[in-house]
């Protein structure tokens, strides 16, 4: 089944006078993992925030499960089954780890204790520290907590904004393992923004490339992984950048 879970149409979002999204359209189908690649400042975070209502688009529509959701309060959108793992962790520093996780299940009516155990099994350190304030966790531990909190919501659609930020290589692999597993076993649809394009493209079914607030490329993850531009700018596969050699400034030129 390939019905559309999320459909973003011609969205334009501004920060005051600055136009961060210049008419973005993407589709995410049920059961898919979709990744968005893009350099710094391309607007990836802005897109994620716009989808879940943390920012209001000035133009365009966003529909989730066929219902228009743009310009609603974020908590309403979340309640309909979207969960965001935000860039930069955003934990509740004075609450304990367990309270943080429990808040992840705030919108759920059913019992979430199984999922709590599941999160603890993914990240044993969180269990060890569950009665401590989360503000003192290391950067990576907070990232685990943020991911765990997102998982607790058991959403229909998960938005992950740079989930691997600050995680060790081992954990990065584990996280993507979890993502694949959730997708395969529980059919959670995923939209992932990731700087680590290797692993993102390896995990995703489909990908978009966002540059300067515009989608400049879209396609199957495999096709993208094989495209020359992607290889050069996102996978770092150009060999002339050897150590000691004079480097050339070759910046992306899609405008």
């Amino acid at each position: 089944m390939s019905d559309t879970v999320l459909s973003v149409r011609n969205v334009e979002t501004f920060y005051g006078a600055i136009m961060a999204l210049r008419g973005v359209s993407i589709d995410v189908n049920r059961g898919e993992i979709v990744t968005i690649l893009g350099a710094n400042g391309a607007g990836k975070t802005t897109l994620m925030k716009t989808i879940c209502g943390l920012m209001d688009p000035e133009k365009g529509t966003i529909s989730f499960l066929g219902k228009e959701i743009s310009r609603q309060e974020p908590d309403k959108i979340v309640r309909q089954g979207i969960s965001l793992i935000p860039e930069g962790r955003e934990v509740f520093p004075y609450l304990t780890i367990e309270e943080n996780l429990k808040l992840g299940a705030y919108t759920r009516k059913d019992d979430a204790s199984d999922d709590l155990e599941m999160v603890y099994s993914y990240f044993p350190i969180l269990k060890e520290r569950r009665k401590q304030a989360s503000g003192f966790l290391s950067g990576g531990q907070q990232q685990m907590l943020a991911i765990g909190r997102g998982l607790m919501a058991k959403p229909e659609l998960m938005l992950l904004d740079e989930p691997s930020l600050g995680l060790s290589p081992l954990l990065t692999q584990e996280i993507f393992g979890i993502i694949r597993r959730l997708n395969a076993e529980q059919k959670v649809t995923m939209l992932i923004v990731e700087q680590n394009a290797h692993i993102a493209l390896a995990t995703a079914h489909k990908g978009y490339v966002l540059e300067m607030g515009r989608i400049v490329m879209a396609g199957d993850a495999d096709d993208l992984a094989n495209s020359a531009d992607i290889q050069e700018f996102y996978l770092g596969k150009t060999e002339e950048n050897e150590r000691g050699q004079k480097r050339w400034k070759r910046r992306k030129t899609w405008r």
Binding site: F14, G16, A17, L54, M55, D56, Y94, G135
Partner: protein, 365 residues
């Protein structure tokens, strides 16, 4: 849109990139200087009052807007300035010496307070300064021989080189005196903000850890800011004393502290210009409301004056509306308007619509 071609670092170091900005500032000062020949006593006294509030506002702005420390007790430093100045002049000191010494006294007292208080921040500092304020108030009452106790005292007349600068007898002279002082302080303040001391204030405001990591002594910096802030406020206090002419401790009430906070926030936190705009709003708005009210009564026969306290409510409602629509303050609004003009035909209508924003805890330093 104007473009400045920068040919040396001095272009950035100087106050203004453009000659015409400089022109406007000079023009403003000239007009201000000529004001006594243009307007009546009523307006002149109001402008003098506004200048004094701007001065006090600059004092608080340095602390709240530029160093991120909040004081609910700045009325105390106004008082220290006013009483020191009056006491010294009563002891025979000339104004030209008593006045700076009054500022210095307020500044030193402020720095003294700051040393134990620098560990405090946010509302904790606000309450500590409130406590200091109450204690200063009591000390003023107790120090009757100097302060006149609760009865208060008359400010001595200012005389400089045989010329009288008395507020009631020679308002124009007094006004010019205020103007000169305000101009000088503004210059000094702007200089401070374009040099490393000013930058260290901003650093301490935005991130203490980073400031430390850059070698900034946070404790010293905050104490210095507190001291400077109090000194400027003290100068304003001395002028206020002369302006009002008679005062007791009730002049320096908590409401004055609150008014000063209104000045800096409504004006625009973090901008020297904000202190002026805020002072203008706070001192002129009630007068404008009153004048409009009188006008309404005279022309349309609608007598709002018969509802006691309505002026204050209208003023409060304006404040509320204002803070809702422009939390960045008057100067923030001005900056936006300027941008809008500069790119005029290209400006979007809702260019300045606020994007949603979210706060995070400020309990972490």
């Amino acid at each position: 849109m104007r473009i400045a071609f920068k040919t040396s670092y001095d272009t950035d170091i100087d106050f203004h990139e453009h000659w015409n900005n400089r022109f406007w500032i000079i023009a403003l000062v000239v007009v201000m200087a000529l004001l006594p020949f243009i307007v009546s006593e009523y307006y002149l006294a109001e402008v003098a009052n506004t200048l004094i509030f701007s001065l006090a506002g600059m004092g608080l702005m340095l602390l709240v807007g530029h160093t991120g420390q909040v004081s609910l007790g700045h009325a105390a430093f106004l008082a220290i300035g006013a009483y020191t100045d009056a006491a010294l002049m009563n002891a025979g000191w000339p104004f030209l010496i008593a006045f700076p010494v009054a500022g210095l006294a307020a500044g030193l007292f402020g720095a003294l307070i700051a040393i134990p208080a620098v560990r405090l921040s946010g509302i904790y500092l606000a309450i500590a300064t409130l406590a200091v304020f109450v204690i200063v108030e009591e000390i003023i009452i107790l120090a009757e021989p100097i302060t006149g106790g609760v009865g208060g005292l008359f400010a001595p007349t200012i005389e400089i080189f045989g010329l009288s600068f008395d507020r009631y007898a020679n308002l124009s002279n007094f006004y010019w005196l205020c103007l000169v002082i305000v101009v000088l302080v503004t210059l000094g303040y702007s200089n401070l903000m374009r040099s490393s001391t000013g930058r260290s204030f901003l650093a301490v405001r935005d991130s203490e850890v980073s400031a430390r990591a850059l070698g900034i002594d946070v404790t010293r910096t905050r104490a210095l800011a507190f001291g400077l802030s109090c000194a400027v406020t003290g100068l304003a206090g001395a002028l206020m004393g002369h302006f009002i002419g008679f005062f007791n401790y009730e002049l320096f009430s908590i409401f004055i502290s609150i008014n000063l906070l209104l000045v800096v926030t409504i004006g625009g936190l973090g901008f020297i210009q904000g202190a002026f705009l805020g002072a203008i709003l706070i001192t002129a708005m009630p007068q404008i409301i009153a004048i409009l009210r009188d006008g309404l009564n005279a022309t349309a026969g609608i007598d709002l004056g018969s509802i006691p306290g309505l002026d204050t409510i209208i003023f409060s409602l304006i404040l509320i509306t204002f803070i809702i629509y422009e939390p960045a303050g008057l100067y923030g609004r001005w900056l936006k308007m300027r941008v809008w003009w500069e790119i005029f035909p290209l400006a979007r209508r809702d260019m300045f619509r606020r994007q949603k924003s979210y706060l995070k805890t400020e309990r972490q330093k």
